[in-house]
């Protein structure tokens, strides 16, 4: 290492040699902090009232929720075999939502519609049969429906981290369906 100048106010003559620069560049700029530091800081922030208690506090829980959401999507999609049969049932579902019973509360209508949906997909799962193509169509239809529901829930509760997570999982799933479906005619219909 050389020391070409003794002028402390001018580092232009005190530039690093390539070897020195290389050694400094090799210093790690990122390092995993101690595992418990994050929880300590979160606890501190909560104690000071700067953070509220979250619905999911550990990453493992978040992934559990995401996995559960994905499993629900896949399970429901698997049951929606023979998607064309759903047209009649879906019409009934829509009738339940759009019906003239103005006295029913919104919550009751959601519950009624949800029950009708579950009955419809259960009936489809018992209808049996199904080729790979039909299975894919059913999966797509079920995922689209779940996504639409999750999207509406996210709009209704934009600060709910759990709903946002479920929506993100479904969007990822739909993106995959879109990519896979680019090579075949789309079978999903929307009302």
């Amino acid at each position: 290492m050389n020391d070409p100048t003794n002028d402390p106010a001018n580092d232009a003559g005190d530039s690093l040699s390539p070897a020195e620069q290389a050694r400094l560049d090799e210093l790690p700029r990122r390092r995993t902090p101690p595992a418990d530091l994050e929880d300590r800081i979160v606890s501190d922030l909560k104690a000071q009232g700067l953070l509220e208690k979250s619905r999911w506090t550990r990453p493992a829980n978040a992934w559990l929720i995401a996995a559960a959401a994905a499993a629900v999507a896949l399970f429901t999609g698997g049951m929606v075999v023979g998607q064309r049969v759903t047209v009649r049932d879906t019409s009934a579902v829509l009738a339940a939502v759009m019906g003239p019973d103005a006295r029913a509360s919104r919550a009751a209508r959601v519950q009624e519609t949800g029950s009708a949906y579950v009955r419809a997909v259960a009936a489809l799962s018992q209808s049996g049969g199904g080729t790979q193509s039909v299975d894919s169509d059913g999966l797509e239809a079920a995922t689209v429906a779940l996504h639409a529901a999750a999207l509406e829930l996210a709009r209704a509760a934009p600060d709910d981290a759990t709903i946002a997570l479920v929506l993100a999982v479904l969007q990822e799933r739909l993106a995959r369906v879109e990519r896979e479906g680019a090579t075949r005619p789309r079978a999903t219909i929307w009302f």
Binding site: L24, L27, R30, L37, L51, S54, T57, Q171
Partner: protein
């Protein structure tokens, strides 16, 4: 009935990994723990080694500084105007916290004393000294300027602004820091490494 042309929602909500710093900061300002954890995991892997170097490799002290930094950052979010990147702002808080700690411990902060370098580097040993250890053993003021300039890539005017010292002081500190570092890293003449 109409065919679905796009399966993606209009108001897509991004995952934490897709969220920008602004998105996460907004969540944190509403007290959202998940948002904070995402922000923490994004920035702490760079913040922690920065602080660890500034405090001379003292891990408990570095953890305390990182903790204080995040608490101060969250508390100060309402006043953060995004004139700089969030990372830059966060590192600035950490730097100030380290300097406070140094002063509180009664150690000299040579940054403001350009002409009084009383520290002399330890005699070089026959074994090449690890660069991290050499940086850690520098006086606080030398170490701070060297880290900011040679490791983090700040210019002298930027360092001058951040530390509240003259540009010439920053240059001087860097000169002395490099000189001390070289003295520690160079094996003595005649040792096996030089022959």
């Amino acid at each position: 009935m109409a065919e679905v042309t796009s399966l993606r929602g209009v108001n897509s909500i991004p995952t934490p990994e897709q969220s920008t710093d602004r998105d996460l900061v907004r969540l944190v300002q509403h007290g959202d723990e998940a948002g904070f954890r995402s922000l923490y995991r994004r920035h702490t892997p760079a913040l922690y080694p920065f602080v660890l170097r500034l405090v001379g490799g003292d891990e408990p002290a570095a953890e305390d500084v990182v903790q204080d930094t995040w608490v101060r950052a969250v508390r100060g979010l309402p006043s953060f105007r995004w004139d700089a990147a969030f990372r830059t702002w966060l590192h600035g808080i950490a730097l100030n916290r380290v300097r406070e700690m140094v002063r509180k411990q009664g150690r000299r902060d040579e940054i403001g004393l350009p002409d009084a370098p009383t520290w002399t580097p330890p005699a070089p040993t026959a074994v090449r000294v690890d660069l991290e250890r050499a940086i850690a053993s520098l006086p606080d003021g030398y170490r701070t300027v060297l880290i900011l300039h040679d490791v983090e890539g700040f210019s002298h005017p930027e360092i001058s602004s951040r530390l509240g010292v003259a540009v010439g002081t920053s240059r001087s500190q860097l000169f002395h820091a490099r000189k001390a570092l070289r003295a520690m890293l160079e094996p003595p003449q005649g040792s096996p490494e030089t022959t």
